[in-house]
């Protein structure tokens, strides 16, 4: 039975897909992807600072706002958090880890998503207030700030503090990858239960050319190469059946990873015990474990997972895969303790992050349609304000903080009133926040997918122009007429389809969440009703936005 289950798991594992799986198993796979994006970032920085300051003619105007945004939302839909996997900001950050001690624990009072929520709010406001989409120069500054922030923060603090607690792009991906079809997870929990080393979290130590199980075979034949590992896995499975199946399920950071005799503590961190690592004297770290403190054995879902694949590289038993799953499967595990995250239904900060991103999907799209200008003019007149950033600030506070707070509180109160129970409004809101992720992803897909589909080919003339400016017009004269990759008539139906998919998955997720707490289907439906109303209202808002004429003005007032 276990063998059958193992075979099924392996069949649904991206690591077993020819070519792709082989590439992802390669130790330098992530670095190579990061290097490609670093080169692209260098182009963006160069053209943004020194190139023509007209966004449609500048790589900093085209690549981030048309292509990158389109690619990442499509990746979230069809795969998972691929941007974090190939994040270019991680290369200077890795350098910082080598250069500086990077041994300080992240301050306890900001060990949550609140700081990232603040950064996200500022970013969304700045995007509109300073027309980042129309300014290659400011776009380059944003990218440069990112590089510096990742370098500085991770040069000071241990682990991947920047990714986990600060990076707004990362938070976007963490949240929306909760409905992605791929998840990095353990293949056979039994093996982890008996694993003596927990390399997936602690990292693997040894001489540089460590003769570990993973590297013990030099044969290019996978079957030959895997023989020692298979023998070890068989041994562990036998051992695990004899002992408690979840004996090792606790985070190794707790009591079971105390330094043993002959070992020295290399990172002592009572505040972040998951990284408390005992290193045998004379050895060095040859493969990092998870730097976001997601211990594989207790890891649930994609929250905080950057798809860095360190755990896959570190596991000596090849017991971690990138596995296919149902997009709503994560919503069945909200009450489960998540390693490195905690219990999601108790994370008000995560719920707030989710709601900010949900409403931002609609406010961000609202910023590009004609009615926003009418509203802004009206607001400016009513308040007697002439400063556009101030008016936008008010709109963003209302749209991303006040309005969500009121609507969510009303939905939580109504839900509780319909079915009773003693759960607090905050707990109810936190629980149901996750049901909104699919409709949010649908909206982001409709919006960013629209820009990508109508502008995907614009990178060709911009690249032609870029090279021509360098005196190497090897790609010929810029063909500025290139733009869309699909007929324009497809766009609105496609956008509505994405929104419809989003609302359906959201309602399904909402029902699952409600059903997990209610004794009958009827009670679950009553419990869900206010949330379903809000989800459907968001759907109609999105549909209305997508059918509005687009308008892009740098100056709104006056």
């Amino acid at each position: 039975m276990a063998v059958l289950r193992n075979q099924q798991t392996r069949q649904r594992d991206l690591l077993n897909v020819p070519v792709v799986g082989r590439f992802l198993r390669w130790k330098h796979a992530r670095t190579s992807m990061q290097a490609v994006l670093l080169a692209v970032s260098a182009l963006i920085l160069y053209d943004g600072f020194w190139g023509p300051q007209l966004a449609p003619k500048n790589l900093a105007g085209v690549l981030p706002w048309v292509h990158w945004r389109g690619f990442v939302v499509l990746a979230l839909l069809i795969a998972g958090n691929l941007f974090c996997m190939a994040c270019p900001f991680m290369l200077p950050r890795r350098l910082a880890k080598k250069l500086f001690p990077a041994d300080r624990p992240w301050p306890t009072f900001i060990r949550s998503k609140w700081l990232a929520i603040g950064v996200l709010l500022v970013f969304f406001w700045a995007y509109e207030a300073f027309d980042l989409w129309a300014s290659p120069w400011l776009t380059a500054w944003v990218a440069l700030t990112y590089f510096v922030a990742a370098f500085a923060i991770d040069g000071i603090f241990k682990g991947a503090a920047f990714c986990k607690y600060v990076c707004p792009i990362g938070q976007f991906h963490f949240v929306h990858s909760m409905v992605s079809p791929l998840e990095v997870k353990v293949r056979q929990p039994d093996i982890c239960g008996s694993c003596p080393t927990k390399d997936c979290i602690k990292g693997r130590y040894g001489p540089v050319a460590e003769p570990s199980l993973r590297h013990s075979g030099t044969s290019r034949n996978p079957d030959e190469r895997d023989k020692p590992r298979q023998a070890q896995v068989s041994h562990l499975l036998r051992h695990s059946r004899e002992s408690s199946p979840r004996a090792g399920a606790r985070n190794p950071s707790s009591d079971e990873q105390r330094p043993q005799a002959g070992m020295r503590e290399v990172t002592k961190s009572p505040s972040q015990p998951a990284r408390s690592v005992a290193m045998p004297a004379g050895l060095q770290l040859v493969q990092s474990g998870c730097e976001l403190w997601l211990f594989q054995e207790g890891k649930v879902g994609n929250m905080d997972c950057t798809f860095c694949l360190d755990c896959i590289q570190a596991c000596p038993f090849d017991n971690v895969g990138i596995q296919l799953r149902a997009p709503t499967s994560e919503f069945r595990r909200l009450d489960q303790w998540h390693s490195g995250v905690g219990t999601l239904v108790k994370r008000a900060d995560v719920a707030a992050l989710v709601f900010v991103l949900v409403f931002a999907a609609f406010v961000n799209a609202f910023g590009m349609v004609a009615p926003v200008y009418v509203l802004e003019q009206w607001l400016a007149t009513q308040l007697g304000v002439t400063s556009e950033p101030v008016v936008l600030g008010i709109l963003f506070i209302v749209g991303l903080v006040a309005l969500p707070f009121v609507l969510v509180t009303a939905a939580a109160w109504s839900s509780r009133a319909l079915v009773g129970g003693n759960e607090t409004l905050a707990a109810t809101a936190t629980r149901f926040s996750f049901a909104f992720i699919p409709i949010a992803l649908g909206m982001w897909l409709a919006h960013y997918g629209f820009h990508f589909l109508i502008g995907a080919l614009t990178v060709i003339p911009v690249m032609q122009s870029f090279l021509a400016d360098f005196g190497v017009p090897i790609l010929g004269d810029p063909q500025w007429e290139l733009a869309a990759i699909v007929p324009e008539a497809w766009l609105v139906p496609l956008e509505l389809l994405l929104l419809e998919l989003g609302v359906l998955v959201s309602l399904t997720a909402g029902y699952r969440i409600a059903r997990s707490r209610q004794s009958s289907a009827a009670r679950a439906i009553r419990c869900l009703l206010p949330w379903a109303v809000l989800i459907v209202a968001l759907f109609f808002t999105g549909a209305w936005l997508m059918t509005q004429p687009m308008e892009m003005r740098g100056t709104i007032l006056g």
């Binding site: 920085l45 600072f49 020194w50 190139g51 023509p52 300051q53 007209l54 966004a55 449609p56 003619k57 500048n58 105007g61 085209v62 706002w65 048309v66 200077p92 350098l95 080598k98 250069l99 027309d131 989409w133 129309a134 290659p136 120069w137 380059a140 500054w141 440069l144 590089f147 510096v148 370098f151 004609a370 009615p371 200008y373 009418v374 629209f450 820009h451 990508f452 109508i454 502008g455 614009t458 911009v462 500025w480 007429e481 290139l482 733009a483 869309a484 324009e488 766009l491 609105v492 209305w544 059918t547 509005q548 004429p549 687009m550 308008e551 892009m552 003005r553 740098g554 100056t555």
Partner: protein, 148 residues
């Protein structure tokens, strides 16, 4: 100095160079062409068909009447198909666009490209802010959102 420290110095040096050199965006090249928009019909500019009348002069102020003038209309944001049209010369440096269309409300940039008889080219950029859009509450636009 080990490799890591050398790399760090290089990285910080590049960063410093970027910061120092990025204190202001590069000035736009005007080219040796003086272009004035005489009129846009309809007035004010709005989404839909439009006729733009241009006055083209060289840097000495002399009307340019024997050039081929192409007009490219694009917006301040990336990702849309530009509107590229030819013009008809009306004498004394006046040119009128043929088949131009504002496809979206917002801030436009009109790029006028002149090709002279000797093959030389010159470009001039004109900012045209606040092309009026159309607002339809709850109705699908019968005009394209973007591109053509």
């Amino acid at each position: 100095m080990n490799f890591a420290r050398t790399t760090c110095v290089i990285f910080i040096a590049i960063l410093g160079a970027l910061v120092l050199s990025a204190c202001g965006p590069r000035a736009e090249q005007g080219g040796n062409l003086d272009v004035t928009v005489l009129s846009i019909s309809p007035e004010p500019a709005a989404v839909g068909d439009a006729v733009i009348t241009l006055q083209v002069r060289d840097i000495a102020g002399n009307p340019v009447s024997d050039a081929t003038i192409l007009v490219k209309g694009t917006m301040t944001h990336a990702g849309m198909q530009p509107v590229i049209v030819g013009t008809e010369a009306r004498g004394a440096g006046k040119y009128v666009t043929e088949g131009f269309r504002f496809t979206m409300g917002g801030d436009w940039v009109i790029i006028v490209r002149a090709t002279f008889a000797n093959g030389a080219t010159a470009e001039r950029r004109i900012d045209l802010k606040g092309v009026q859009g159309e607002i339809k509450m709850g109705m699908k636009s019968d005009k394209p959102k973007d591109g053509n």
